[in-house]
């Protein structure tokens, strides 16, 4: 990593509050100008922002280029989908000697989704983190494909076609298929995640994580085992990605292996880089820019991946510090 992520300061808290406030006023404005479609777009931005903030904990602060996060995102989504499937079909979910009737109550299934995806992150992190650099990237990419094929192999839950959630979902008595409920629940989740990650990277834990990204040998010389910190960060980051996937599955009432394809993992990395890796809030900006760019370009041309790919290449060639860095340099000059 070229530049070490700095310790978060007061300005970062201000940026986080500003972004949350800006997102919060989207629905009333969208309703006022008669563009309810904008709420849907904003919900998508919020959900992917959660995943990107989670990824950036390991990518930006931990220096680990993970291409596994779409897979973990999907794991979260499948937990919601599978629990709702069992609830709807009245068939208990058998896990060895245990049976669970399933549920459509998100207050139960969202935390479970976070736990399961964090557990998956720990399992795969234990293998991936034995290596570093290029090996780490390729192994996380391979694990992402493993999760993808696991989704395809779940014939009972729709296999390759994906899993439609037919039963009713609820969160504290509210219906998440309602546009506004879904948006504000997701926004609340984003707020919690950003505050948590911001507190974390400023803590002693975060300092060790950031230091291991910059100079692992020195951290070891201080008697601190970096792998343990990395694995913890990886688990947390995976849990956050799972939360995002779970929210997306509850919002669109659908999850499929396509949501776990490794290209999605690449998209998440692009979001983080686009917004800048050195802050907690940068990826939120990156997610918004990415999805709006995708929407804008695809409304102009069917071949939108061409300009988009060129933008990504240009970014890799010229912008080391993302959009935020470019703006900062422009302001300073």
């Amino acid at each position: 990593m070229a530049d070490l992520a700095p310790t978060p300061n007061r300005r970062d808290w201000f940026a986080i509050l500003l972004l949350l406030a800006l997102l919060a006023v989207v629905p009333p404005i969208a309703e006022a100008v008669g563009q309810p479609f904008a709420i849907k777009v904003a919900s998508r931005v919020v959900v992917f922002a959660i995943a990107a903030v989670g990824l950036n904990l390991v990518l930006g602060f931990g220096g680990m280029v993970s291409l596994l996060h779409a897979g973990l995102f999907g794991v979260g989504g499948y937990v919601i989908g599978i629990l709702a499937w069992h609830d709807f079909n009245g068939e208990a979910l058998q896990l060895g000697p245990f049976a669970y009737a399933g549920t459509g109550n998100l207050l139960i299934s969202l935390p479970l989704a976070v736990l399961v995806s964090a557990a998956a992150a720990v399992l795969m992190g234990m293998v991936s983190l034995r290596t570093n650099g290029a090996y780490f990237i390729m192994i996380t990419l391979a694990f992402n494909q493993m999760l993808y094929y696991l989704g395809v192999a779940l014939q009972k839950y729709g296999g390759e076609d994906g899993l439609q959630i037919l039963g009713d979902l609820s969160i504290a008595g509210l219906d998440p298929s309602k546009r506004l409920v879904y948006f504000y629940v997701s926004l609340a989740a984003l707020a919690v995640v950003m505050v948590l990650v911001q507190r974390l990277v400023g803590s002693r834990f975060g300092m060790v994580l950031r230091a291991s990204a910059q100079n692992e040998r020195r951290v070891k010389a201080l008697g601190i085992p970096p792998t343990r910190y990395r694995l913890t960060a990886f688990a947390l980051s995976g849990g956050i990605a799972g939360l995002a996937g779970a929210l997306m599955a509850s919002g669109q009432q659908f999850i499929s292996p396509a949501d776990m394809s490794w290209v999605r993992s690449g998209d998440l990395v692009v979001m983080c880089v686009l917004g800048g890796l050195t802050t907690v809030w940068g990826p939120v900006l990156g997610a918004a820019l990415f999805l709006l760019l995708e929407l804008g370009l695809s409304s102009l041309t069917n071949a939108w991946q061409l300009p988009f790919g060129l933008i990504v290449i240009g970014m890799a060639v010229w912008l080391h510090d993302g959009l935020i860095g470019a703006i900062r340099r422009w302001v300073q000059s």
Binding site: M1, Y149, A153, V269, L306, V317
Partner: protein
């Protein structure tokens, strides 16, 4: 599993392994020597298939199609190296992932603009279209035998070239110590372009041979790319021996996994095998660096 079926699947597995070796040879050399992760390697595989199919259709000659495709992918590879990717040898892996990810998007979209979204037909010449009886009860497609033969010959040539010739020595020297190789007078820049072009041509060759068996379509390179990455990682990044062993191993595991389990579960087995091998040997079976 009956004996003919077992033999057939073994042949299929080795044939897939040989193709994976052609793919991962370029990947592992480019990484070993230039320290570059090239996710766009699968795009060259795709281009090889499309170019060969088009030229073969227009000229009515499969061999001409194959020749043009190999030369064209080599040229595209060299061009990529000179115009873009050589700036990334000293950049972070993250930048390399980004630029090659962007390249995948561009290549896929351009291919779709030129050839359309519908899978393209790639007909075989009559001479290799049929099948022959290898053993009583085992009819095997001739073209698959051709793939097996070509793959083995090319693999062997590559091996001999890298292990037994002066050019190969430069390549290996570059892989184990770039600065030292440069200091003792190896023209590292030319070696880099050559390795990149050769890797691209091998990917193109693998693609054009897979074309008539699988569908020639946009995005066909990515599944193979990921298998080739798995091969590279298991074999030890930068190791040609490792790539050969791992490629045959993955080819067999994948083929038998799909037959014995379901296709999707069979695909998972490869990644589990990778996890087990890396938990045991984190640097792969034949580590090159340290």
């Amino acid at each position: 599993m009956s004996l003919p079926l077992f033999l057939e699947q073994t042949l299929n597995g080795v044939q897939l392994g040989v193709m994976l070796f052609l793919m991962s040879a370029g990947l592992t050399l480019v990484f070993g020597i230039m320290n570059l992760i090239n996710l766009a390697h699968g795009a060259l595989y795709m281009l090889g298939a499309f170019i060969a199919a088009t030229v073969a259709e227009k000229s009515d000659s499969f061999l001409l199609g194959a020749l043009v495709a190999v030369l064209a992918t080599a040229a595209i590879g060299a061009l990529l190296e000179v115009a873009l990717l050589r700036r990334f040898y000293h950049r972070s892996h993250l930048d390399q992932v980004l630029v090659t990810f962007g390249l995948i998007l561009v290549f896929n979209q351009v291919t779709q603009l030129i050839w359309g979204a519908v899978p393209m037909r790639f007909n075989l010449p009559d001479s290799v279209a049929g099948s022959i009886e290898l053993f009583p009860g085992l009819n095997y497609p001739v073209f698959r035998l051709v793939i097996l033969g070509v793959g083995l010959v090319v693999g062997l040539l590559l091996y001999v070239m890298i292990m037994r010739t002066r050019i190969g020595m430069w390549v290996r020297a570059g892989a184990s110590n770039r600065a030292m190789a440069s200091a003792i007078g190896v023209n590292v820049e030319m070696v880099f372009i050559g390795v990149f072009a050769a890797g691209a041509a091998l990917a193109g060759l693998a693609g054009l041979m897979a074309g008539p068996i699988l569908a020639v379509q946009v995005g066909m390179g990515e599944p193979v790319l990921i298998l080739a990455l798995v091969v590279t990682v298991i074999g030890g990044i930068g190791s040609i021996n490792g790539a050969l062993v791992a490629a045959i191993m993955i080819g067999l595991i994948d083929t038998f996994g799909r037959v014995l389990l379901s296709p999707a579960l069979g695909s998972m087995v490869i990644f589990l095998a990778m996890a087990v091998i890396l938990a045991w040997k984190p640097k792969g079976l034949f580590p090159v660096h340290g």
